[in-house]
């Protein structure tokens, strides 16, 4: 068989039919883009998810299940069952196995976003992704009692600038009826986007949290007993309790021992969890969703293959004369079958290449928007092993489906007479 001839005929034939094939190629390109995109997104979302918190060895909170503790401390979902006494936190600080601690105090909200009360240790020790620290996009970390630092998404969606005065709400929820009107906060800084729930919260000092709750009882402000900002500046505050703490250990090997000790603490019922373990348990729970995506991916492949076969069969009907001519001048049935296979594979290769370009373009174009709007960090990266295999499967599958028209043409052209198109 003449491979060079088959290749050049296939190329000329594809080019000749480019107007029809452009549409097919577009369909194939879009479905391959979708296939690859879903796989890419799956990998990235999982990556993004497991990168929500890093370098934190233990999360310590009131006694509860590990998922609950993970959800309310890291993902700002749900509520704490109880608090940790400040004295207990002070004791933990004395523990020399613990390198650093970040206290966090939750409970209030700002227009649906969580208010996280913490201190400067959040800025120095908190890590996400591949060990990234928090960074200020504008302004500075809070210093005064009524200073607030906004997460990137909060600042973006509510259009906050440095110096804005904002009023926090008591309790969670988007529309709270009890606001801390007497103690407005001033935005002193805005965080860089992280693509994690950190973007979806505002950060105040533990002092600020205490100060705005003075004079409050059972969720209502008692008139005349709340502080004015001026009074607050003159006082010092000591919190009674915090919600949870992130901890980093000096020696990672001690993690389980410290965890066990905290869990068995008799002074106060506490739970310490390993964030990595809790995250993977949470991801397993969401595996249902991942499997659904995988199913959709499968259907996308099947759909595009059916489209491919349909087009090949349509082309076959159009090509009876051309095949009669090629047979008459001595082309073997194998050469003619090879034409189909080569054309189909070339088409798939073009579609795959276009899908790569299109996919990269879409990711580049949407990546900043996804991060800003949804806090989803989808960077452009080289394809991984699985994705390359998936992409390679497209021309391979095209080769397989091309065998269908190729074999039927091969069989037919063996039995047809000179100049016979088989259309009688």
């Amino acid at each position: 068989m003449k491979a060079a001839l088959a290749l050049s005929l296939a190329r000329a034939s594809l080019w000749h039919r480019r107007k029809v094939l452009a549409l097919v190629c577009l369909t194939l390109t879009l479905s391959v883009t979708l296939l690859l995109g879903i796989q890419y997104l799956r990998t990235e979302v999982k990556q993004s998810f497991t990168n929500t918190i890093s370098d934190t060895d233990l999360i310590i909170g009131a006694r509860s299940g590990q998922l609950n503790l993970l959800l309310y401390t890291v993902f700002h979902i749900g509520n704490a069952t109880n608090n940790i006494r400040w004295s207990t936190f002070k004791q933990l600080e004395q523990d020399e196995r613990i390198d650093w601690l970040i206290p966090i105090s939750l409970g209030d909200s700002y227009k649906g976003y969580r208010v996280v009360a913490t201190d400067e240790r959040m800025l120095t020790h908190f890590r996400y992704g591949q060990g990234h620290a928090l960074a200020m996009a504008e302004g500075q970390w809070f210093d005064g009692v009524f200073d607030v630092v906004a997460g990137a998404s909060v600042a973006k969606s509510l259009n906050h600038r440095i110096g804005d005065h904002i009023v926090l709400s008591h309790g969670g929820g988007r529309t709270s009826f009890s606001n801390h009107d007497q103690t407005p906060f001033t935005v002193t800084g805005i965080l860089e986007p992280t693509g994690t729930p950190v973007d979806q919260a505002v950060y105040i000092s533990l002092d600020g949290m205490e100060a705005m709750h003075i004079g409050w009882s059972s969720g209502v402000a008692i008139p005349g007993r709340t502080l004015t900002p001026e009074q607050a500046e003159e006082r010092t505050f000591t919190p009674d309790a915090i919600t949870a703490a992130f901890a980093g250990l000096d020696r990672k090997i001690l993690t389980f021992r410290v965890q066990r000790q905290i869990n068995e603490s008799t002074a106060e019922p506490l739970s310490a969890i390993l964030p990595g373990v809790a995250l993977s348990e949470l991801w397993r729970l969401m595996g249902q969703f991942e499997r659904a995506l995988l199913g959709i991916t499968g259907f996308v492949v099947i759909t595009s293959l059916i489209g491919l076969v349909a087009v090949l069969l349509t082309l076959q009907a159009q090509r009876a004369h051309e095949i009669a001519v090629l047979r008459a001048i001595g082309a073997s049935p194998a050469l003619i079958a090879a034409l189909y296979v080569i054309e189909c594979v070339l088409l798939a290769l073009v579609a795959s290449a276009l899908a790569l370009v299109l996919g990269a373009g879409v990711i580049l174009a949407l990546s900043p928007w996804l991060l800003a709007e949804y806090g989803l960090y989808i960077p452009l990266r080289p394809l991984d092993h699985t994705e390359w295999l998936m992409l390679a499967a497209v021309p391979a599958a095209a080769l397989l489906v091309a065998l269908l028209p190729a074999l039927s043409t091969w069989r037919q052209s063996r039995s047809l007479g000179l100049g016979d198109t088989g259309e009688k």
Binding site: A328, I329, G330
Partner: protein
């Protein structure tokens, strides 16, 4: 009964040829032929007389029920299907009534196509297939600016002449022509026939020309009748 009575070895010998499409259909029988190299044969046959079947048998694309076809000393139906395809590529040029050309190739690439399928026909061109194609296209009065065009942009008459050039390139021993002039008007038909036969003679190529139009017969050395052949 025509016979190549010259001293050269016959280009084609057909004897006692029978064909049956399927077991329940009548057997077709075809006249015996003995054609010397370079001689032209006119085969007259009305439609339905089995012309296409006869040419398919000669081209090695159908197998006879009985009888033999010797072409250039080879019994072509003793060969395997792949060898028959190669034999056709090497030794036979074909012209149909219409749809002769590969639509996505230019006129000149259509003409050189046999040289890409057959090494012997490529080697028979001087100095190369493209030069030979240009010479044939010029002889067949295809304007030079049409050579690089898609064949679908050519007139029917031009398409048939391009097909003739393709059949003649690389000087095959035999050209099978199946009603190649029936889509042409009288002027075009006569010009086509003249050019085809003249160029074939230059190359010592035998032309087997099948037509229902008996007025063409005088252009040929011999003529035979296909009578439907049902026995």
């Amino acid at each position: 009964m025509p016979s190549g009575s010259r001293t050269t070895a016959p280009a084609l010998t057909v004897s006692d040829l029978h064909f049956r499409w399927s077991a329940d259909q009548p057997s077709l029988s075809f006249p015996d032929i003995r054609l010397a190299a370079g001689e032209h044969l006119f085969i007259h046959g009305p439609s339905g007389s089995g012309k296409s079947t006869f040419l398919s048998l000669l081209a090695g694309m159908l197998s006879p029920e009985s009888g033999t076809i010797h072409m250039l000393g080879n019994d072509i139906h003793k060969a395997r299907a792949g060898d028959r395809d190669r034999f056709r590529a090497d030794h036979i040029g074909v012209i149909f009534q219409q749809f002769n050309l590969v639509p996505y190739l230019t006129a000149e690439t259509n003409v050189t196509l046999p040289c890409r399928l057959s090494d012997s026909r490529r080697d028979a061109t001087h100095p190369n297939p493209m030069a030979e194609a240009h010479r044939l296209l010029t002889a067949l009065t295809i304007p030079e600016d049409h050579w690089h065009r898609k064949v679908t942009e050519l007139s029917i008459g031009q398409q048939q002449r391009v097909a003739a050039a393709r059949a003649l390139i690389g000087s095959p021993e035999l050209v099978l022509a199946d009603e190649p002039t029936s889509a042409l008007d009288t002027d075009n038909r006569d010009r086509f026939l003249d050019l085809l036969l003249t160029l074939a003679e230059e190359r010592n190529t035998s032309v087997l020309f099948v037509s229902h139009d008996r007025t063409l017969a005088p252009h040929f050395h011999h003529q035979i009748e296909l009578d439907g052949g049902v026995r």
